[in-house]
Symmetry: C2
Subunit: 332 residues, 2 copies
Amino acid sequence: MKKLINDPTDYVDEMLDGMVAAYPELRRLPETEVVVRTDGPPTDEVAVVSGGGSGHEPTHAGYVGDGMLAGAAAGAVFTSPTADQLAEMVRETDGGRGVLCVVKNYEGDVMNFDTGAEMAELDGVEVQQVVVDDDVAVEDSLYTSGRRGVCGTVLVHKCAGAKAAEGADLDEVARVAEKVVDNVGTMGVALTSCVTPEKGEPTFELAEDEIELGIGIHGEPGVERTGTMTADEVADTLLDAVLDDLGVGSGEEVVTIVNGMGGTPLSELYILQRRVTERLDAEGIDVHDAWVGDYMTSLDMMGCSVTVCRVDDELTDLLDAPTETPALTVRE
Amino acid sequence: MKKLINDPTDYVDEMLDGMVAAYPELRRLPETEVVVRTDGPPTDEVAVVSGGGSGHEPTHAGYVGDGMLAGAAAGAVFTSPTADQLAEMVRETDGGRGVLCVVKNYEGDVMNFDTGAEMAELDGVEVQQVVVDDDVAVEDSLYTSGRRGVCGTVLVHKCAGAKAAEGADLDEVARVAEKVVDNVGTMGVALTSCVTPEKGEPTFELAEDEIELGIGIHGEPGVERTGTMTADEVADTLLDAVLDDLGVGSGEEVVTIVNGMGGTPLSELYILQRRVTERLDAEGIDVHDAWVGDYMTSLDMMGCSVTVCRVDDELTDLLDAPTETPALTVRE
């Protein structure tokens, strides 16, 4: 498989250097893979931070900026950041009002964020964590006890970041983050495997007439391998699973994400969105906002995920609040 | 090749329906593939419009919105919109101060925009056109006399749209658009062919150890097939060709785009950006802004292009002006 890379061992380092080169609003903490705001942590706000393995860009560093994350730590591809680096991120982003860590539910991430938080707490930083487990496809998977954390995490970043920007205290920011976690579900599908830079070969094999439903963002097994389906069938399958899990029904309001896995063209995501909107309209579910694009990817995987989040006035206000990050800008 | 589509003949129709479903700020003109602003053309502004074949999303409809395009017409995949639809777009978007058509230099587009503009002029609309031909790779190509219009077109949309939003007259908006055209250059590379929905097979074949330099956004031939290169070598090759063509040198200021062709992960674009910044810094060229992402794609092609635009205070002010479109949002 061909890639636009140099030495695979430099992949994360060079990617982060490229990000901060493109966005002077971001900087790397020296000798780390932690990206923070160049203007430093606001002293009057709780810092919301996140992190995880690389290969999901723009997740997570693409969401660092005014109104969203104060920092993001990148591990090696599909590998948790170290506890040391997470501790440093927490210490560096604390402006005195505490730090909320948004953690995707993978064993390595949870363990290292726990340790990192403890290390920072020893230095007097107040830390809380919220674990996102929005993937409705499978319980317990490779790297995970319970459900996996996937694209719904970006909505946690947005809402928690906006709440922090309002000046709310750490308990309130954590409460909002948990509220999103309680109301969001996602399911994905792969048409092709991702190819990691180090290996240079597909992580798994899918035949030319085969897709995998419920795929994880590291290529972890889903729920079913099946023959190829139309876009509408894919949209229905993913949406049904998520709506069923959330118990969302007529008269409720949601925000949706049709997310590309990295190798799928935007045009195909719009074709899926058409069906998602049609279905939600038919079910009497009100769509406050629909995000379409590559928000949480799996390297070059062809495929998509559908996220639904039940919202109320508090969450819609937070989602609509202004932010400016490399991957998401919302105007006043 | 697997795709997330339904019937290939519905590809463009369903894609546009999905766009307007996701973005209520956009609407389709009935029974056309023309997307315009739902709030109608501002009567106090020149309308800037564009269009071309589909398959390059988010180009062009993704740039419709406040501060950029007033409308965009989509043809079939890699096929010009019809003159009838272009005429209707021009008539519908005219708020009384005239319409500037931004046309990528392909024979079908140029011919149909010419005819469409003439038809609208018969109805009393004042129309001017600017033809973008930023691809420095080849003179005369499949579908083109002269140079092809590629990713630099997005900078024309941004600057012309911002000038129109200032209330400038048609001559002034056209002057700014021409100024961008005169100062922008792009060159691309393909790692894989795109696959059109109708054909379902690669448009051309590239071996596993081969890339094509100077590729067009429809898979038209480039300047050279060569062995795979590192990201830095690719960045150098594309950047050298563009800088040489533009004659940009030390002390000048530029805006750059590292653009993904649709199937390339964002992380790889950042790795390329790192080298582009390093090189421009070394040459004493000041980078006002660096855009990284999928701005003008070729379906699912793996590859990228590098765009450089020489800018002055007028152009940087226009590039920095606020806009809100599906694919580009700039805060005040």
